[in-house]
């Protein structure tokens, strides 16, 4: 035990040793004297040598430290200059532009420059971003136009009149049912529900909405854990600032038809149990792939394929906004190629616009980008099949494969051609159609393109030879 104590004189707590004090004082005095000497020597301009030798103990900072200080000051100056360069209004504008360019955070509302401060206080995390955002937004950034021109409110959704009418009613009252949206791709299903939730929840969007799509893990485990946990949370009907919003949450299951049956079944009870706090929105292309117990729990909405006029309007609008010059009939070609899918149409337009830069977009560009096989090529295949010469057919198809045309695209166009061929009796047509369907399935399974197309064209050959 005894060895733990330190030896030495007894000391009083809090009272410093007088001896040390004395020493310090002496040194201090010395310093003062020396600095005075230095000042004198500097003022009088005596030899630098003497000044250096005398002032040496005075230098407390190392060379590196001094350099750092200097750099710091310089940087501060630059920062201030940079800040002074742009006015507050401009910075807010830049921030808004940055928000526009973000793909993920389209839910953050735009900021008016007079209310910027209040906004930033509410979201203190964003403030440093303003400075960081400025240099980013100057560089040309590639934002998919599909995201840029997504409808922001339910009213902006084009063509789906009935759905919009119902949803507006839902917005007026506070209660909404579970939704099931179905329809062909690119008709605005996801856009509609995003617009609806954004209108409903406003700034709370991020907290109130859980969006899951096919690329997220969505097996039965996720339904049991993630979805259930989110659904269980209770929410108030007021935001932090006291704004009244519906006291519910929304779970959006995009591409729900790719969910397994087991996962769908696991969803059934969850949907019912948490009706007080949570609404579901299922989005799918084929309603037949959703199990019946789920469909009966939802309000079903069918999204119609878009009209030609709607597509044209939208494309013209985007062309004007983005300063794209289109040749005659280009919009028409885009419309044909996209088959009523607005997303596809916009993507084609953007791709071709980027490929051509400032030049005019032509029909050929659209065909190239969409991977459309030229009519002459498909017609040649049909001619060869009609001729009944196997060797010629083989060579023709080999050539076509070397030109890297997509087999599924050829199939589609061949289908159109045979469908319109009036010389073929219906019975033979249906036989060919059946074969086309089979071939399509085989191609989807990953069958070899050459063999599949050869097999199909021999069937076509047989049907034609029996005429």
């Amino acid at each position: 035990m005894a060895e733990n104590f330190t030896g030495g004189k007894l000391k009083l707590k809090g009272v410093k040793d007088g001896k040390v004090k004395k020493k310090k004082k002496k040194k201090l005095n010395e310093d003062v004297v020396k600095s005075e000497i230095k000042r004198e020597s500097e003022e009088s301009g005596t030899s630098t040598l003497s000044a250096d030798t005398v002032s040496k103990p005075k230098v407390t900072k190392t060379k590196a430290e001094l350099a750092f200080l200097k750099a710091q000051q310089k940087r501060e100056g630059e920062k201030i200059l940079k800040k002074a360069e742009t006015s507050h209004k401009e910075r807010v504008e830049q921030f808004n532009e940055h928000l526009d360019n973000l793909i993920e955070h389209f839910d953050i509302p735009k900021v008016s420059w007079t209310k910027m401060d209040a906004f930033l206080q509410g979201r203190s995390g964003i403030k440093p971003k303003v400075a960081a955002a400025a240099p980013v937004s100057t560089a040309p950034q590639f934002v998919p136009w599909v995201e840029k021109y997504r409808p922001r409110t339910v009213n902006d959704v084009s063509h789906q009149v009935e759905v919009v009418a119902v949803l507006k009613k839902c917005l007026e009252g506070d209660d909404i049912p579970n939704f099931l949206f179905y329809g062909p791709p690119g008709t605005g299903k996801t856009s509609t529900i995003l617009a609806l939730t954004r209108q409903m929840f406003g700034k709370e969007f991020g907290n109130r909405v859980l969006e899951l799509n096919a690329s997220d893990e969505r097996g039965i485990q996720v339904v049991r854990d993630k979805i259930k946990n989110f659904a269980q949370l209770a929410v108030s009907s007021k935001t932090v600032n006291g704004v009244k919003i519906p006291g519910i949450k929304m779970i959006i299951l995009d591409e729900a038809d790719s969910m397994t049956n087991a996962a769908q079944s696991a969803l059934r009870r969850t949907m019912e149990k948490f009706t007080k706090t949570t609404r579901f929105c299922l989005i799918c292309n084929y309603v037949s792939r959703i199990i019946a117990p789920i469909t009966s729990r939802c309000a079903k909405f069918r999204f119609k394929p878009l009209d030609t006029s709607v597509l044209d309007d939208r494309l013209h609008h985007i062309c004007k906004e983005e300063n794209v010059t289109c040749g005659d009939g280009v919009i028409e070609v885009i419309r044909q190629v996209s088959g009523g899918d607005l997303r596809k149409a916009i993507t084609y337009l953007q791709s071709s616009a980027r490929l051509k830069k400032d030049e005019e977009v032509t029909k050929q560009d659209i065909h190239d980008i969409a991977g459309v096989v030229p009519h002459t090529v498909v017609e040649r295949v049909l001619e060869l099949a009609k001729s009944g010469n196997y060797t010629k057919l083989q060579r023709g198809i080999q050539d076509m494969m070397h030109d890297a045309y997509s087999a599924s695209q050829i199939l589609e166009q061949l289908h159109d051609l045979i469908f319109e061929d009036s010389s073929l009796p219906d019975k033979k047509k249906s036989a060919i159609m059946e074969e086309i369907a089979k071939t399509d399935k085989c191609l989807l399974d990953g069958g070899d393109e050459y063999l599949q197309i050869m097999s199909l064209s021999t069937v076509v050959m047989t049907e034609y030879s029996e005429l």
């Binding site: 993920e104 998919p144 051509k356 830069k357 070397h402 890297a404 070899d448 063999l451 021999t458």
Partner: protein
């Protein structure tokens, strides 16, 4: 000593020998310093990878040619470790995700995530994004392709994906609609001739036009194969003579011999023979699809009108089943057995007809 194929590979977009308008378009696309995700498709030996490398060089400069091999390891959800080797420069990374088999989804998600999370050291001088090149993208599982679609959108600001694939039919529409598709067709006869002549001139040898023509005919519009054949010819005999034999690749000769054997005799015993030959082909890593295609084409040559159609349909049928099944040998063998049955039946019918005909005559 590098092979001619690598030695004379064009290094920049302006050096490309054919598809010049496409090169112009690509240049324009890149000039703005940014580009969307790309999906490059075309048959093998058409110059897909050459164009991708040219494009990368146009964006980043000569630095992309300093390549190194990296090994990445990933953890699957079931805690299995998989190792993938990638080829990378400071600006891009080239990976063949199908090496990971059914775990390619994990590879894609992790890889792109790690790349998107690292910043470029000096963003002033370089681009803000890196490029991920996925080769053999058509061999990605559907799962991986679905995973890719969201990943592609999410990390758009930090990385671009360039996919390189033989057939676009195997890509899901969602991926196709997110990328700018670039079709690269195989070079035609004249283009190939000019490239062959140019290469030979650079090597300082004289290529007789007749030989060039034969090489091109045999290469099936595959530029790489043509160049390799040309080099083989030079190794075999120099100076080149117009009547020199141009050798097929070994496996092709082997498949041709196999086809001959099938035609010669149709019996269970011969089928056993064929099976061992097929095993040998598979053991040498010849893709079963290629075997199917070549074998079917060879067999069809020896058949008549109606039988030709049946053979090609049978080939298509078994090849499709092969894609769904697990072991290729079953389907190859089934096809051979089916062909033997059809061929024998056909020959017997022909003999019967002939006998009938004789009977009538007498």
């Amino acid at each position: 000593m590098a092979l001619w194929v690598d030695k004379h590979r064009p290094k920049s977009l302006s050096q490309l020998d054919y598809h010049k308008p496409l090169a112009q378009h690509l240049k324009k696309l890149v000039n703005s310093g940014d580009f969307p995700h790309l999906l490059v498709y075309g048959p093998s030996g058409a110059g897909k990878k050459t164009r991708i490398m040219c494009l990368l060089r146009e964006i980043y400069g000569a630095g992309v040619e300093k390549l190194r091999i990296e090994h990445h390891s990933f953890n699957t959800p079931s805690n299995k470790k998989i190792e993938i080797s990638t080829i990378a420069s400071n600006y891009h990374i080239m990976v063949n995700p199908s090496d990971a088999g059914i775990y390619d989804r994990v590879v894609i998600q992790d890889l792109i995530k790690t790349i998107a999370q690292t910043n470029q050291l000096d963003s002033e001088k370089m681009r803000e994004f890196k490029v991920v090149v996925l080769t053999d993208a058509d061999r990605l599982t559907k799962d991986a392709q679905h995973a890719l679609r969201r990943t592609m959108e999410k990390y758009m600001s930090k990385c671009r994906v360039i996919m390189c694939t033989n057939s676009i039919s195997k890509m899901i529409p969602a991926i196709r609609s997110r990328c700018l598709g670039i079709r690269i067709s195989a070079p035609n006869q004249e283009e190939m001739t000019s490239v062959l002549n140019l290469t030979c001139r650079k090597e300082g040898i004289n290529l007789p036009p007749e030989l060039a023509e034969r090489i091109i005919a045999q290469s099936e519009r595959n530029m790489r194969r043509a160049l390799l054949m040309c080099e083989t010819c030079k190794v075999q005999q120099y100076p080149l003579s117009p009547d020199q034999t141009v050798d097929d690749p070994d496996w092709m000769t082997f498949v041709k011999q196999t086809a001959m054997k099938i035609i010669e005799e149709q019996s269970p015993k011969r089928l056993l023979d064929i099976r061992s030959r097929l095993y040998e082909l598979l053991a040498h890593c010849i893709p079963p699809e290629t075997i199917f295609r070549t074998l079917a084409d060879e067999l069809v040559k020896h058949c008549d009108g109606t039988l030709q159609k049946k053979v090609i349909q049978a080939a298509a049928n078994y090849e499709h089943k092969l894609q769904l099944g697990s072991r290729p040998i079953y389907y190859l063998e089934a096809f051979v057995a089916r062909f033997m049955a059809m061929y024998k039946g056909f020959i017997q019918d022909a003999i019967m007809d002939f006998d009938d005909f004789d009977f009538d005559e007498s």
